[in-house]
């Protein structure tokens, strides 16, 4: 809110400069975001707090200034220049919706002359960013800015039967508001009506037909209190936010209506002439009862660490309008500021009355805050709590960090994507095994009822959709070589309807383009399936989990024949492979993309692969290679297993040298070169022994897989 420096000075007499005020107000909780000059005045832009609607007025800010600068708030002139007759002899008011309108006051001024406002009023409104309209409209505006109470002036003669009814709108009822827009109302909206029709949207905006005009002679001034939730609802429903609705939504002083009426009438009779009625109609069936809040003065120190003398606590609260309730025990003993022992002070307590404009003050801690913030948080000394507990990372943090670094070392950049994705991805991907627990297609995933990005209503059941979006973003910006991974949660509905959704840690990888060397511009080669698998293996090795097995599989989003499933401790924990052509086409990818997604939670929790030392070999080993031309469908793992299953004590290792297919190897077959290591623990193996073992192995492989030894 824009606050005029001169206005504040009139209300407080404070002699602080605008710069000093800026600093002091900010440190008291009224953040002054900017100060600028406006003629002979300064304007302070104050960002208030949501629980302090009283700061939406010069009076509210003046109360804070009076604590900061000393002195008292001086309320402005409240007496009408001319008074005659009772309000009820000129109009009547009926409140039907007492639940939405807790107080309604009305007063009449007859014989006013609508004219432009005097220069000072125009200048002041202009300084705080308001446009001048005419004297009466400006005065209601001015009083709202001064005291925080929105007001409305009706042209009394334009009101049917010269009376008001506060009621809910009739469904479909129409009202043209002051901004010239005709609005259709619903039955939950509160309106002020005359005998025939709605004439104002309560707490939001007046109607055009009963607006003050140059011809207006008699006016009715309304100052009311409306239920904040009702005003908020109407304002939102109509998309109409006003100075008045802002204030009512956040809560205006329920006791401030008559004061604002009096101030308005005083200014109108002074500046626009006319004669005011001597009283106001005041419909206030259930007056607010003041809240009494006890304060043990020692709590200030216990919560803030500040040593505030009791007399200062009382002074600060008093200046804010928070007065002590009637004498009661220790409270009354705190009366005089004379000498008293610290011990007595620490025992002392008093009851305070929460002022009507301070709905935020309800409990002792609220009073502690008032005292503390005005005594000054800068006086709170920094203290470190004594250490009494040991620090601890999240479970498996070591594994998380190690796997992240391993993936970095394999050339993968860490990505983070939004947790909500487009529902269009639902059918594209196969999710992590075990993630989806509900059979019903329509409700098995988690859906947002109010997404902010169009279409992104699905809480992601897979990280792949977001990562592939990132790949596309990179392609669109000219980066063709992309390796990304993400660690984050995926979501699915609970097995029970209404149960809290399931969230589990996943990790996904994407790779496309060529492998590059750090610092080199040229490419070394195209990335493929085995780059992705290698990165996964590196991450798993860094996590030191029990062995993970890879086996060929099929999956919705993976190309047939180029997909593998990961298994750890007998449990499926993920999949990898080349992105299927139809999914790639949906993303408009023209180059191969490889993807993997793993159940990170399961792997984080998996048993650690133990280390058991094996004695170093005392006798040399002998290695022999065997190149076997076998059908392509025979896997390396099958060949390896076939050798292992021979159970030959001296066979120590079966490793891959290379795979070759092409020239001189028939279609449908490939040449696999294995290197087999032979060793005995108690002697050096003789050539003939190795020859015999190697022969048996080659023979087994030839026979089992229809392979031929390549010579």
């Amino acid at each position: 809110m824009n606050i005029s420096y001169n206005w504040l000075r009139e209300l407080t007499g404070a002699r602080l400069t605008a710069g000093e005020l800026r600093e002091r107000l900010t440190m008291a909780g009224l953040e002054v975001e900017a100060v600028h000059e406006a003629g002979d005045d300064f304007v302070l832009e104050i960002a208030g707090l949501s629980n302090r609607p009283d700061w939406l007025s010069h009076l509210g800010v003046a109360r804070e200034v009076s604590v900061l600068a000393g002195g008292e708030v001086r309320l402005p002139e409240m007496r009408a220049a001319r008074e005659e007759g009772k309000t009820e002899s000129f109009t009547s008011v009926e409140v039907e919706a007492v639940d939405l309108c807790t107080r309604f006051t009305a007063r009449v001024v007859r014989g006013v002359s609508i004219a432009p406002s005097p220069a000072w009023l125009v200048a002041r409104l202009q300084a705080v960013g308001q446009r001048s309209i005419n004297n009466v409209a400006d005065i209601t505006n001015y009083v709202m800015l001064e005291l925080g109470q929105p007001l409305h002036a009706f042209d009394l003669e334009k009101l049917n039967e010269r009376r008001l009814v506060v009621r809910r709108a009739r469904a479909g009822e129409r009202l043209t508001t002051l901004d010239g827009v005709e609005r259709e109302l619903d039955a939950e909206m509160l309106v002020i009506a005359d005998a025939a029709r709605a004439v104002a949207l309560a707490g939001v905006m007046g109607g055009a037909e009963t607006e003050i005009s140059d011809a207006t002679r008699d006016i009715l001034i309304e100052a009311a209190h409306f239920a904040p939730a009702s005003v908020r609802r109407t304002s939102r429903a109509l998309g109409l936010q006003t100075e008045a609705s802002d204030r009512f939504e956040r809560g205006v002083d329920p006791e401030g209506q008559l004061r604002a009426q009096a101030r308005t009438v005083a200014l109108i009779t002074e500046l626009a002439g006319g004669t005011a009625t001597t009283d106001a109609i005041d419909l206030y069936p259930q007056p607010a009862t003041p809240t009494i809040v006890p304060l043990r003065f020692s709590r200030v120190r216990e919560l803030t660490g500040l040593d505030v003398p009791m007399r200062d606590s009382i002074r600060i609260l008093g200046a804010l309008g928070i007065e002590r309730a009637g004498a009661d025990g220790a409270g009354s003993s705190a009366d005089d500021g004379g000498a008293r022992s610290a011990a007595a002070e620490s025992e002392a307590a008093a009851n305070f009355v929460s002022p009507s404009w301070r709905t935020d003050i309800r409990i002792e801690e609220d009073l502690v805050e008032e005292v503390g913030r005005h005594f000054g948080y800068d006086k709170v000394s920094d203290t470190l709590p004594a250490a009494n507990v040991a620090g601890e990372y999240r479970a498996h943090e070591g594994r998380r960090r190690a796997s992240r670094r391993a993936l970095n070392a394999c050339g993968f950049d860490e990505a983070l994507t939004f947790s909500f994705i487009d529902t269009a991805h639902d059918e594209q991907f196969e999710f992590l095994p075990g993630l989806v627990r509900r059979a019903d297609e329509a409700s098995r995933l988690v859906t947002l009822s109010n997404p902010i990005i169009e279409g992104a209503a699905r809480m992601r059941p897979t990280l792949l959709a977001g990562l592939l979006d990132s790949v596309r973003h990179n392609f669109n910006h000219g980066t063709r070589d992309v390796r990304l991974f993400e660690m984050g949660r995926v979501y699915a509905a609970d097995s029970e309807e209404g149960g809290q959704p399931r969230e589990t840690d996943a990790c996904a990888l994407v790779a496309t383009g060529v492998a590059t060397e750090e610092g080199h511009a040229g490419a070394s080669r195209e990335l493929d399936f085995y780059d992705l698998k290698g990165a996964l293996e590196a991450a798993l090795a860094a996590m030191n989990v029990a062995p993970v097995e890879f086996a060929a599989t099929g999956a919705r989003h993976l190309r047939e024949g180029q997909a593998a499933q990961l298994t750890c401790e007998g449990r499926a924990v993920g999949m990898l492979g080349r992105l299927a052509d139809d999914v790639a086409a949906a993303y408009k990818f023209k180059q191969p993309v490889y993807v993997a997604e793993i159940d990170f939670a399961a792997l984080l929790a998996a048993a650690e692969a133990g280390v058991r030392y094996a004695p170093l070999a005392r006798f040399p080993s002998v290695t022999r290679d065997a190149s076997l031309v076998a059908p392509r469908r025979v896997t390396f793992a099958e060949m390896q297993r076939a050798v292992v299953e021979l159970n030959l004590e001296q066979v120590r290792r079966v490793a891959l040298v290379y795979v070759y297919e092409g020239e001189r190897v028939p279609e449908g077959r490939r040449s696999v070169t294995l290197r087999i290591e032979y060793r005995a623990d108690d002697r050096t193996l003789r050539d003939e022994e190795v020859d015999e073992l190697h022969g048996r192995i080659v023979g087994t492989l030839e026979e089992k897989f229809g392979a031929q030894l390549k010579r």
Partner: protein, 362 residues
Amino acid sequence: MSSGIVGQQPETVREAFEQEFGRFARFRAGGADELTFAEAETALRELAELRTRHTGKKSALAGLKKLIGRVAAEERAAVGQQIQQLENEIIAALEESKQTLDAHVAALRVERELLDVTLPGRRTRRGHQHPITLVRQRIEDIFVAMGYTVEDGPEIETDFYNFDALNIPPTHPARSPQDTFYTTEGFALRSQTSTVQIHAMQRRKPPLRVIAPGKVFRRDTPDATHNPMFFQLEGLLVDRGITMGHLKGTVTEFLRRLYGPQTRTRFRPSYFPFTEPSAEFDFSCFKCNGAGCRLCKGSGWIELGGSGMVHPNVLRAVGIDPQEFSGFAFGFGIDRMCMLNFGLDDIRLLFENDVRFLEQFN
């Protein structure tokens, strides 16, 4: 036997050597500079052959030396000296030339094998950690060293954890579907990591020290300074006798460890439903150290987060007696800290995953 046996032979040997050595003579004092590497190597090889021919076991010079024993005793010394001198001259000529050529070859070899040590080393491209991870790990390390336990809770929450237990009134605008995401089954995407305070206090009894870094969601349309998803860090300490002094001391100590010992903090009164009293905290600008610069918009201070003493209603909601225990809580945005630390000008960069962006972080 007389000196006649030797006769004019030394002169003949000298002449024969000089004739063949002639083309190498210029190398005795430098003179190899214009030779290419190959020419110099050839010259060296030929010189070595020349040496064998003229000083080897089968050379004329060797034959001459064998004759010395057969010279008459009284002349032997003089003849021996004469032959020795001849040998010295020949070897000196060969050596000097060889040295010149060797030096030239060595110099050329250095030139040939010279490495460009500024070429990039041989290693495959390295990936990079996300800036949020970098900042988050740093913060976690500091707080763990200060005795805090890192915790987390669900990202999809019940109203109880996201609002009720945090003393957020039923009418508070933060609850509206305008501001908070809801699932079709009525759960809220957590709008602050303060929810973890509640989980932590339910799981464990005081004294406790917890930080909760994590993802939070608010219904903001993405722009340069907003994202509908971001990362926050919440801190909580509950014990007997905890005051705002401990809050200030802790936040200041953390920021000093992060930004250096010259860092100062400032607490401004504020309002949060789950703390009372509440304060926002600023720290002295790490770029200008408080003098005022563009980063801090001239104020010398950088606004970072919110804090306060845990509201008694929050303590009561988890069964802790606010008369016996008190605590503080604080929170700030990790994304915002990334913006500050790395000078980002558009927060959307954090979730676009542009490789050109990601590879700047290490």
